[in-house]
Each structure stands twice: as structure tokens, then as C-alpha cells.
Symmetry: C2
Subunit: 394 residues, 2 copies
């Protein structure tokens, strides 16, 4: 291998442990102090690798390396620096540090690529009030400055509409985008193949649901007179599972947050707010699920509001890029296979506008977004070597 394994591992440990929880997970939430510390340190490491570094107002870090013809558009690669709450070490981090490693490897080799290179660490890829893949969508011009929901939430992160405009890039300046990422599933591990060449990424739709009941004293309201919002929520949760199973794989539906108001042991739940997330590679199946859920809600109670807050359609990655990655694997004699991604990624958003490729490495037991998230260092080295070869081949 041409990459320096030790250097890659050390740089991952240095940035990846910022935000480590006492329980062993990583909490480096978008816009948090931990995120900012990591972005600062990463900028220093990128500068040390000779990159011209800029951080935009959304907190994403960009580092540019000159090309043989510096007037050509850049080949961009990287991933996201933020994590979920008590999440894993590798998610997002890998794509950034693999990118930094290949910059350092090119420096070691004294190689200049034809196109300039640009390493990126995006902010706010994980689900937040902004809906996930926030910074990459802004960069790719995929967010309307008129988006009402977003405008309402910008002040929570001390952002103004002008900041979004400033973070948008002219996509003619980007030749291609490549992201290395952990699979977050079990396909590669079960087939013992170290490289996945992503050819499609699932769409994500999220609904906010507010169920209104009647808050009342728990000791004096007979069961028959109650309007308990949590019992209605329980019915909805089970129905959504039924709908998901019935639609069949790869469709998935998840309720990951649920809040009760007022939320006291001796008060009947007067309101429940929850978020339903639907994912599939087929937008039609997501819409069918949305209709089934809405229809069930209408028959369950008239006191339920449902609002679509996120709607990101599925995306196919660029076939040309997939071929280049496949050829790189063959040349390096590293086994690879085409794969679909169930998770959303920055690459998915960018793929709508720029030829995009994505390289997966195996997740042990498929675990992700949790402290147990793990990928073997050997697979990380292989994935990084494939990234290097891919970039040299463009």
C-alpha cells in the first residue's frame, strides 16, 4: 500500500475522540462546542498537509490542493464531522481522515493530480432541526432560501439567510465528488467483501405528528372518560411497524423521538409529539407508506396533526464514477461489489448535481449511530487505498 497506515490511524484517533462520552460513545453534535473544537483541530492538520483551508459560516471546513491545471474544477472528497448523540467513532470521520491521508500520501509521493483536489468536512449531516445533510445541501444549492421551516430554525444555530447564500458553491467548480463511508449495514460483512461501490442511496421522508389528548389527574379520571394521547401514539407506533413489514425490504420506518406533555407520573398524557421516518430506494413506496399512515391516522382520531417536514428523494450515484471505483478495486486486487445505501449521506445530496461516487467499507455487526459502531483498521486502510487510486484515475 502507498498510504501510511499509522498516520491514518493516529489522525482518526486524534479527531475522532473529540466529544467522547463517559459511556464510550461520541457526541459531537452539529454546531456544538465539541464540533467546533474538532473543526479547529482538523483545520490545523489540513494546513499542515499544505492545503489552503477555509471554514464557511455553517461550520464546514474545506481544504484545497493545487492541480497540474489549477483552472480546472476540483475533485472533491470528504464526509461529515458531526455525529449523533452518543454515536459511533467512524461514521463521517472516516471519509474526512481517509481524504486527509491521501493528501499526505500524494505529498509523500511528490505527485500532483491533473485536477485540483478539495477535501471537505461537512457540518450537520446528522438529523437536526435542519433535517440532515444540511451543509452539503446548502453547498449544492438544494435548499431554497425561502424555505419557511428552515428560516424559522436558523436563529437556533445563530445563522442568517445570508450565511446560506454565502455557503452555496458554483457547481461548475466541482468535477466530481467522492465519499468514503462505513456501510452501517451487514451486507459487506456477511459476504466478506471489503469494498462496496454504492450505486443508489435511499430516500428519506419524515413526518412530525402531534396527537392531542386531554391532560387530567391520573387518579380521578376513569379509564372510560380518558383521552390519553400516549395510548393513541402506541396504536400508531404498532400500525407503522405493520405497514413497514408489509411493504417489504428495503423499506424501513422508524420513530426515534417521542415527547409527552405535560410528562408527569400523575397526569394523563395531554399531548404526544413524535417524528416518523420512512426510507426506501423507491420513492413510490415511501409515498404509499405515507398515504397508509395518513389514512390510519384519519380513522384513529381527528385530534392528530401530521406534517411532512423532510422529503429527500432516492438518488442513483453516477455510473461513470462507479466504474472508475470498480476499476480501481480490480487494479488493486481488492474485492468490491455494487451496493445500495439505506442511509442518507452528503454524497447523496451532491449526487443530484455533480458526478458522485461512494466507497463503503464493512461495519462490524452492521452497528452504527451507537458506541458499538466499529470497522476493522485493515478495511479502513483498504478503503483509503481505493480512494487514492480512484482519484489518481480521474
Amino acid at each position: 500500500m502507498r498510504i501510511n497506515k499509522e498516520r491514518l490511524k493516529n489522525s482518526m484517533l486524534e479527531i475522532g475522540n473529540i466529544g467522547k462520552d463517559p459511556t464510550g460513545g461520541i457526541t459531537r453534535l452539529a454546531f456544538s462546542p465539541e464540533y467546533n473544537i474538532a473543526a479547529r483541530r482538523l483545520s490545523q492538520m489540513m494546513e499542515a498537509a499544505g492545503l489552503e483551508v477555509k471554514q464557511d459560516r455553517l461550520g464546514s471546513v474545506f481544504g484545497r490542493r493545487y492541480g497540474e491545471d489549477d483552472t480546472l474544477p476540483v475533485i472533491m472528497f470528504g464526509s461529515h464531522l458531526d455525529t449523533v448523540k452518543n454515536g459511533g467513532f467512524f461514521d463521517g470521520l472516516l471519509g474526512i481522515m481517509a481524504g486527509l491521508e491521501i493528501i499526505n500520501t500524494l505529498n509523500d509521493l511528490g505527485r500532483t493530480t491533473k485536477y485540483p483536489l478539495e477535501l471537505v468536512a461537512f457540518n450537520a449531516e446528522e438529523g437536526s432541526e435542519m433535517g440532515g445533510t444540511f451543509a452539503s445541501r446548502v453547498m449544492a444549492g438544494l435548499i431554497s432560501p425561502d424555505d419557511q421551516y428552515l428560516q424559522e430554525h436558523l436563529p437556533e444555530y445563530n445563522l442568517r439567510p445570508e450565511d446560506l447564500a454565502a455557503a452555496r458553491r458554483d457547481l461548475n467548480e466541482i468535477k466530481a465528488f467522492i465519499e468514503v463511508h462505513i456501510e452501517q449495514g451487514t451486507v459487506l460483512e456477511s459476504e466478506q467483501i471489503p469494498i462496496g461501490i454504492v450505486n443508489g442511496i435511499a430516500g428519506i421522508t419524515r413526518y412530525k405528528v402531534i396527537i392531542t389528548g386531554e391532560a387530567n389527574h391520573s387518579g380521578t379520571t376513569p379509564m372510560r372518560l380518558r383521552k390519553d394521547a400516549l395510548i393513541t401514539a402506541a396504536k400508531l407506533i404498532l400500525k407503522i411497524e405493520d405497514i413497514a413489514v408489509e411493504l417489504g425490504e428495503p423499506f424501513v420506518a422508524t420513530i426515534g423521538t417521542l415527547e409527552i406533555k405535560p410528562g408527569a407520573v400523575n397526569v394523563i398524557p395531554g399531548e404526544v409529539e413524535l417524528i416518523i421516518e420512512l426510507r426506501d430506494l423507491d420513492q413510490h413506496k415511501i409515498e404509499t407508506a405515507g398515504e397508509k399512515i395518513t389514512s390510519y391516522i384519519n380513522q384513529l382520531s381527528k385530534d392528530i396533526q401530521i406534517e411532512k417536514i423532510v422529503n429527500k428523494t432516492p438518488v442513483k450515484t453516477d455510473p461513470g464514477m462507479a466504474n472508475i471505483i470498480e476499476t480501481a478495486c480490480k487494479k488493486l486486487e481488492i474485492p468490491g461489489r455494487k451496493i445500495l445505501s439505506g442511509a442518507g449521506h452528503d454524497a447523496k445530496e451532491i449526487a443530484r448535481k455533480v458526478p458522485t461516487g461512494m466507497i463503503f467499507v464493512p461495519s462490524i455487526a452492521g452497528k452504527s449511530h451507537c458506541p458499538e459502531e466499529k470497522t476493522s483498521w485493515e478495511d479502513i486502510y483498504l478503503g483509503t487505498e481505493v480512494l487514492l487510486e480512484t482519484i489518481l484515475s480521474i
Copy 2:
């Protein structure tokens, strides 16, 4: 009437609006700044009424009025000053301010009672980490200083075991206890009777349940491989409702709090913690429900822990006291009826050790623990007048 309606209403408004939420509810949580402000102002009003006022380390306020024979034990009356989150105006407050009004009325009339009188405003009657009716249980010696659960939570309220010992009273000093309270149910309103003479108070058992699932990325874990703690919780919520309906009135079961970990839109719930509350006038029915729930949990999953955190048995109030209240109603020609209480009260705890009576007034639409909680001022005046007559009759 002998009481001063205007003075009673004004004093209720003065104390009762402390902790008012923007939404119209009252949040005067135990041990909160709002509670402390209310306790301070109440102490001043009690001193102005000529009482000898003391506040104990738990935050309860006591005010003593001399008797004809000041060596006799006191007749104690009052209720609690704390509220639930976004709760109602009348719950607790009424019993305290009715008590203050009769002190002022006795002052107006120049009357001294045979026994000394003592007005009390208890802290922490509502559900908290302490399990509800905290201060009254401590006063009555119903809390063991060795209680492990309690000891663990004392520091959260800046309390030490010595403070509990100091707040305990010699019950030989208390001749009787009387509490005026809103019904928090619909019996009196539906029968248009202004006074309820309580002859029994429901027992309360609470269980803490922790359901362990597997936190994982929502986009990459197929439905068939998930261990979603929220889906298990939903099954349990619906089963508990079934059990409650089957056991029949007045049995009620409530899940008022539920927390998901990690609680992110794109992570499968890895843990759910919830609290189940069971109430009935028959301890045997509460135990039967507990067994049915435990048995269902055992068949549902081996990854559910259930722990009983509160177990307060039902109590019958003192028949002698009930007769005195009934006689007072007859003498005043105010309609009254015997009634059972579904809610826990300070009086319920004290009744285990001291002859205790309880006077209910109607709740409009039975609403309580919510901003809509309401009782007509006319019924409040009637309840206070009955309290005055009861105390004069002992």
C-alpha cells in the same frame, strides 16, 4: 356566612398566581423558586393573621393559633402549596387558603377554640422523585430514614437525612387533621352536591420500567433485525390499558412519562424508560394488576426490568371525623354526601396515624392537574364555611 368571601378570594389569587405559566397553567413545583416565593408570602399573611409561623427544612409552612387550653394537642388543617407542571390553580391552594380564612374569621368573631389550631402548607405533595406526599409522610413518621431510594435522591433537593428527622412531628401533639380539597373528579358536579365527605382514599403503586432494545442506524437496519424498545413499549402501553379496563372502576392505570434513549430521529430506540401508576381503593386489585403486568412483561421480552418505586396502600378516613363534618353540613343546611377519593392527598398519609377528615368541593368537568382546573367561588365559600363549623364542633 361568617367567612369573608372577598378576603378569601383575594388571598387565593395572591398566592395562587405565583408560578403562572404563559399558557395559563400554574407551575409551582416542589423545591422550586416559585414554591419558595409562595411560601415566603404565605408566611407573611399567616403572621398578619396572628399565627406563630415556622417553616421546616422540607419547605412546609406551619402556623399555630393558641387554644383555650394551650397544653392540648392541636387541630391541624391545610393542604399542599406545590403544583404539578402546568397544573391548576385550586389543587392544594384551596385547603391552605380556606384554613387561613377561618383563622381570620375566628379573629373577626373574637373566638378562641378549646384546642390550639395549626394551619399547614405542605411541600412536595405532587409526584416527584420523592414519590408524592413527601412532607406529610415525613411529618407523620411514615418514611424510614433507611429508605435507600429516597436517600439517593435527597441530594437533588439539597436535603440530608437529619432534615427528615427534624421535620418529623410527635403525633400525640395532633388531635385531628382536616383537609379541604377540590374533588378532581365529576361525582359532586354530576349530582349537584357542593360538599363531599371523604371516607376513603385510593392507594397508589408506581413501577419504573426499563426496556432495553438495540440502538442502531435507522436507515440500514432491516425491520426484521431490529430490537426497537419503543415498539415493545407500545405493546406494553396497550396491554396495561386492557388490564385496567378489565379490572373495572375505580381502578385506573396511567403511563404519564416515557423517555427514549438516545432519542434521535434517525436512531432506532435503544432504551425506553417509563413509569406505570396504578390506583384503586382495594389494595388487592392493585396487586393483581401488578402481577398481570409483570407476567405480560416476562412473556414480552427478557430485556425489560420492572421495579416498584412507590407503594402507598389505600386508607379509610376516620368515621368520627366524617360524622362531625356531616353534622356540620346539616347544621349549615349545605348538601353533602360521602365520597371516595381517587387521588392521593396529604390527608391520606396523615390518616394512617391521626384521626383525619377531608372535605371535597366540586371540580368543574372533573378537570385537574391542567390549566382548565376550576371550582366555582360559591362552592369554595361553602367548603370553607363547612371547615369553620367542623373545627368549632371538635
